[in-house]
Symmetry: C2
Subunit: 133 residues, 2 copies
């Protein structure tokens, strides 16, 4: 057996909708999440993925995180450095710059405001207080 790593997409005729919707929710929040994962210290790529999965139920693919990290690096929001591991492939550790820290603060505030607005909107739904028009 050579590899057999197929992840079994199983795309049925009219299956999977919730999955795609949550992907859309992630848009825009991903950059903020990546920055946030580095708030307490440097991490390398795959570590960021695991961190976010553990700390926020946000499951990102590798094909998502690497472009994002490069984007943020280009914008000067974080830096990277290669570090040799005792075993295995060398790792590229990312750290927040001062600009990145500042930007994350702004994003966090904007996010909070945005989330509060939506929460207010969803209140009747979650509390099931229907009003018959």
């Amino acid at each position: 057996m050579p590899k057999l790593a197929l992840k079994l997409s199983l795309k049925g005729p009219e299956a999977e909708q919730p999955d795609r919707w949550e992907a859309q929710l992630r848009k825009g929040a991903v950059e903020m999440a990546a920055l946030a994962s580095l708030w307490q210290g440097r991490l390398y790529g795959l570590e960021i993925i695991r961190y976010l999965e553990t700390h926020s139920q946000m499951a990102l693919a590798e094909g998502t995180i690497y472009p994002v990290l490069n984007r943020l690096k280009t914008e000067g929001l974080l830096t990277s450095e290669w570090v040799e591991a005792e075993a295995g492939h060398p790792r590229k550790y990312y750290s927040l710059t001062d600009a990145g820290r500042e930007r994350l603060r702004e994003m966090a505030k904007a996010w909070t405001s945005f989330a509060n607005g939506l929460s207010r909107l969803l209140e009747p739904v979650l509390n099931e207080k229907e009003k018959t028009q």
Copy 2:
């Protein structure tokens, strides 16, 4: 003066970034917001825009809302009916279907979970509790 309604995009060499980021945040949340605006009764297109702007600081363009409404209608989550206005152009009122109501409940739950995860992630940032690595 003929019209002069140009909204002044003013796309400088490296200007406007915060605006585009918030647009990304909106992706995915828009469908939910549109459904939520109809929870308490029917509204027509422009009214939905105004409702969301008032109740959640979410400013949507017309070019955004109409395709979304058609999408939701195609999925059977809402229905529409033309209603003559006493004055001006007739209005197309949208209402939630039972399926739409049910879907909105699911979305609201998923959103809450997602938002809570991110809130947890941002806690250190908002509380400014840096830990020197």
